[in-house]
Every structure is written in C-alpha cells, then in structure tokens.
C-alpha cells in the first residue's frame, strides 16, 4: 500500500495549482487561498488517494471547482469595485518580468488569455503553459478529449486574432 506524504506528494503540486487558480480568479491572494483550500481538501481525502491514478489531475479538478466557486461569489460584488482592484493587480503581476521592453507585450498576452471564456483559458493554461496531454486535461475538466481539443483550438484562434489586432493598433 502506497503511503501518501503531504510534503512529497501533495505540496509539490502547489505551483501548478496556483497558476490555474490565478488564471481563473485573476487575483493573487484569492488564488493562494484556493491552493490552500485545495491542498487541505486533497490531504483530508488522502485515504482514498491510493485508488486515484493521478493525484495531480484530482487536485486540479478540486482546485478548478474551488476557484470557480470563489469567482462566482466575488462576482456578486459591484463591477466598479472589481475594476478598482484589477488595476493594481496588473502592475503587481508585471514585476516578475524583468525585461521592460517585453513587459508590455507579455502583459497584453496575459490580458488576452485572461479574457477568454473560463473553459478555454483553463484548457489553454493546462496545455500551453503546463504541458499537459489532452487526456489529462479531459480528466481534470470531466469532458471528452475532443471537447478539450475544440476548446484549445478556439482559445488559440482567439488569442492569435486578438494579438494581431492589438499589435496592429500598437504599430
């Protein structure tokens, strides 16, 4: 019987979970809370983890559900309030990108991806940024592989189109 260790099996998932949560909630503090709740939930169910093929896929599913719950709850707030908090977030997110000349472009890509419908950006997040297979993504979202492909196709097409539009305006 495999013994699940928090430090070795659960905690290392934090960054993948954090990036997905951040993609959905678009707020660092909220994303961190989501990851914390996710890890607690996964750990509480560690007795059943031995029967689960991929702890990562299982954790990502939980993470997505918690993040969706959180965004639904926070969307009750006034939109103006949301706008106020969104601006400082954007600048704080930009600091890790050292190169200033690229920063604006990367920020633009981020805004485009964040603006996609949730399913599309989640699929894109897992595929293009985390390098997950269609099969794994299908498992996380509980949809068919074909639907994953469609979502990724739409996401990439939308990003390409918006990116080209913005680049033209920029020039």
């Amino acid at each position: 019987m495999k013994i699940v260790s928090f430090r070795n099996d659960v905690l290392p998932l934090k960054n993948v979970l954090f990036r997905l949560a951040l993609r959905i909630t678009m707020n660092k503090e909220e994303a961190e809370d989501v990851v914390q709740d996710t890890l607690m939930k996964v750990w509480d169910r560690r007795d059943t983890l031995q029967d689960i093929d991929s702890i990562e896929a299982f954790s990502l599913t939980i993470c997505r559900n918690i993040a969706l719950d959180k965004t639904k709850r926070s969307s009750w707030r006034e939109e103006s309030l949301d706008q106020d908090t969104l601006e400082p977030r954007a600048t704080s997110m930009a600091t890790p990108y050292q190169r200033t000349e690229q920063r604006d472009m990367l920020e633009m890509v981020k805004r485009i991806v964040d603006g996609l419908p949730e399913k599309q950006k989640t699929c894109m997040q897992l595929r293009d940024f985390e390098g997950k297979s269609y099969k794994d993504i299908a498992e996380v979202l509980s949809i068919s592989e074909e639907q994953v492909k469609v979502n990724i196709y739409r996401a990439r097409q939308a990003v390409k189109q918006k990116f080209n539009e913005n680049a033209e305006y920029g020039l």
């Binding site: 928090f6 430090r7 905690l11 934090k14 960054n15 954090f18 990036r19 951040l22 961190e32 990851v35 914390q36 890890l39 607690m40 750990w43 509480d44 890790p96 990108y97 690229q102 472009m105 990367l106 633009m108 890509v109 981020k110 991806v113 595929r127 293009d128 940024f129 390098g131 297979s133 492909k149 990724i152 196709y153 990439r156 097409q157 990003v159 390409k160 990116f163 080209n164 680049a167």
Partner: protein, 158 residues
C-alpha cells in the same frame, strides 16, 4: 539551412494555431521563441511563447509551505485518532501473538523434555545389566587371578 529551419517553425506555428501539434512540437516552438535571434517574420509571435515561459515564474514561496505544513500539522493528529482504533489494538495483537508463540514454544519444549524423561527409565533399566557386566568380568578376572596365582605358586614350587 537557416531558412529551412524557419520554414519548419512556420509550419509548426501554422499547425499550432490549428491545434494539430503534439506536446513535443509545442515544446520545440517554445524553445525556438525563447532564443534571442528570431527572424523579423516570426518576431511578432515571440511574446506569445515568451509569456508561456514567464508564466513558469508564477510560484508560491517557502512561506506558503511553512503555513501549509502548520495547517496540516493539526489534521495529522486528528486523523491519527481515527486510525488509532485499529492501531491502538495493534500492540495488543502483537503482545497476544508473542504470548501465543512463547506458550507454544514452551509447550513444545516441555513436551520434548517430557519425552526425554520417559526415556530415562529405559536407560536406567539398561544400566543394571551394565552393572552385572563388571561383576561377570570381575569373576573372570578373579578366575584369571586365581589361575595366575596357581601358575605363580607352581612356579615358586618348582
């Protein structure tokens, strides 16, 4: 040569937009666009892939680990109580098993000793015969002695 490389990248890019690339091919694209010298025709797409790279820097620090382990620290003991019902019985089972083993071993050795004890009378029963032996031998040697004596006496007499 370089142009051929770029053609390959352009083809990959086209297939990427159509979601026909494999994960390996997407990794090639990412690696290509992370380079410094990219031809002007492909340069506009660099931020798209550079973003994927920058995304990797979105990580949670060690302070999160510490907080998480502090949080998990409690549930571990709480959870342990649920397991203890079985685990608490384990030492008892072990003790019972040890007692059982000692009892069986003790019994077995006792049996062995008892069997040896049963054999003792038989061994003792043989010994009287052995005791009889020497007396026979003694009688023999007595005869010998008397023979020796008579020989010696006759020798002296001669």
């Amino acid at each position: 040569m370089q142009n051929m490389d770029y053609k390959y990248i352009e083809q990959l890019l086209e297939r990427y937009w159509n979601s026909q690339t494999t994960l390996e091919e997407e990794a090639i694209l990412k690696a290509f666009f992370c380079q410094d010298d990219i031809p002007a025709s492909l340069l506009p797409y660099k931020p798209l892939f550079a973003y994927a790279k920058a995304e990797e820097e979105n990580v949670l620090g060690d302070d999160f680990d510490a907080r998480m382990e502090a949080l998990i620290g409690e549930p571990v003991t709480v959870k342990a109580k649920v397991v203890t019902l079985r685990q608490r019985m384990m030492p008892l089972f072990k003790a019972a098993a040890v007692v059982a083993i000692i009892l069986t071993l003790g019994n077995a050795s006792q049996m062995a000793f008892n069997e040896e004890g049963d054999e003792m009378p038989a061994a003792v029963a043989v010994t009287p015969k052995v005791h009889n032996g020497p007396s026979v031998a003694m009688g023999d040697s007595v005869k010998m002695d008397t023979l020796k004596k008579t020989v010696a006496v006759s020798a002296i007499l001669k």
